[in-house]
């Protein structure tokens, strides 16, 4: 499907911010405006997915559950580096069988690695980056990041930059995407971020309803 949906992320000072647009659409129809595309993978990792509608949820949950299994078996959660390569391996293996048409951004936090962001496209090309974006929105967002991103930004600064990107999309992108959800990954775990008020509240990973953010 054409990449109308956009996801982007950036690494800041001790955290990684992931932002995804909250629309679920197919051809000319807009099904909902409060879809959460950022899946918490485990305590200190989150994955924002975009692409083929069924494949996205399927792949994200596949990674979630396999990582949970690994943690149960080994006793220690995998590092973001290992998780990213594990995800790439699954995607690359299936590329020539039954490909997952999923573009994703994997955000993680590790006490050794610090905050990290991994870009993985649907062909399973993996890159570790400071900032990244998928979708048509990337054309606008990457330029803004090139201009305004600095390593070691604070969370309020990162949220301000995210809001700048969203404002630019509203102004210049032909597809209207009014609603965005955001999550931040840091030493405290995966948390929902309210882009409007720059407030942060804890996400209860066991509560399914918590996973949805509704923009007024």
């Amino acid at each position: 499907p054409p990449p109308m949906e956009c996801i982007f992320g950036l690494v800041g000072d001790g955290f990684t911010l992931l932002v995804a647009d909250a629309s679920a659409r197919r051809s000319v129809f807009l099904y909902k405006q409060d879809e959460d595309k950022i899946f918490p993978i485990d305590e200190h990792k989150a994955m924002a997915v975009t692409g083929e509608p069924g494949d996205t949820t399927l792949f994200a949950e596949l990674i979630q559950k396999n990582l949970a299994l690994c943690t149960l078996r080994v006793g220690v959660p995998r590092s973001p580096h290992a998780t990213a390569h594990f995800t790439r391996a699954i995607m690359a293996e299936n590329l020539r069988r039954s490909p997952y048409f999923v573009n994703l951004l994997l955000a993680g936090h590790d006490k050794d690695e610090g905050p990290s962001l991994y870009y993985l496209d649907y062909l399973a090309s993996l890159q570790k980056l400071n900032f990244a974006a998928h979708g048509y929105g990337a054309f606008f967002i990457l330029s803004l990041f090139d201009r305004y991103y600095r390593p070691g930004m604070s969370l309020p600064e990162a949220i301000k930059l995210a809001n700048l990107c969203i404002a630019q999309l509203r102004l210049r992108f032909v597809i209207s995407t009014p609603a965005f959800t955001a999550k931040v990954v840091d030493t405290d775990g995966v948390r929902m971020v309210d882009l409007k008020n720059e407030g942060v509240r804890m996400v209860d990973l066991k509560n399914e309803e918590e996973m949805v953010v509704v923009e007024e």
């Binding site: 790439r88 690359a92 870009y119 062909l123 399973a124 890159q127 980056l129 054309f139 990457l142």
Partner: protein, 207 residues
């Protein structure tokens, strides 16, 4: 969306040259998707052994997959044989791996550069189904091989010392990737000599 050959979906450029008892291998640093740059530190040359380097151009996902597979095969070789692999043997291994996927190939064009156990320089290039060629001078691969061949043919001369080889290799690669819209954003050059190897990163045109 522009219709592009699969080999040019992510741009790349790798060049290897023989010198006097030394070899050089160089690649550009760009990772892009259909002309859009994503990152500028994706090097396409990999150290397989102390005196054996592998360069991979083509589709980035296959570059990563093939590098992982070949590293695995090399580790297994080392465990079984108890010694390091010769560059010519490694080239045969790659050729075999690629031809095994004759009708569903990896979209890569590998370049092997190294010194064998008698410190004789060895370079080899291959197409995506593993047809090898071992020329006496240089090997080019990537999204704009015409430019690479042009500069190399002009500036190459046999029996270059390591520093001279570094200079010629760098200039050939930089001049070619400047003319390639898909590759570029800097380059990394490795020169392998019997005493050791050195790697230097070059800053070229940042576009």
């Amino acid at each position: 969306r522009v219709a592009m050959s699969i080999m040019q979906y992510n741009g790349s450029a790798v060049l290897a040259m023989k010198g006097k008892n030394c070899v050089g291998i160089a690649s550009d640093l760009c990772f892009g998707v259909q002309g859009r740059m994503i990152t500028t530190n994706f090097r396409k040359t990999f150290r397989m052994q102390e005196k054996l380097y592998l360069g991979l151009t083509g589709l980035a996902t296959d570059v990563q997959t093939l590098h992982e597979r070949l590293e695995f095969r090399l580790n297994m070789y080392k465990l079984r044989e108890g010694r390091e692999i010769k560059p010519s043997t490694f080239a045969s291994v790659i050729s075999n791996v690629l031809y095994a996927h004759r009708f569903g190939p990896y979209f890569v064009e590998p370049v092997v550069a190294g010194l064998d156990d008698t410190n004789t320089p060895f370079i080899c290039g291959m197409d995506l189904i593993g047809a090898p060629v071992t020329p006496p001078d240089f090997v080019c691969a990537g999204s704009n091989t015409e430019a690479l061949f042009g500069t190399c043919e002009t500036m190459y001369r046999p029996d270059m010392e390591p520093e001279e080889l570094f200079e010629v290799l760098s200039q050939c690669l930089l001049a070619s990737i400047d003319r390639d819209a898909l590759a570029g954003w800097g380059a990394v050059v490795t020169i392998i000599t019997p005493e050791g190897s050195f790697t230097r990163t070059l800053k070229g045109r940042q576009d």
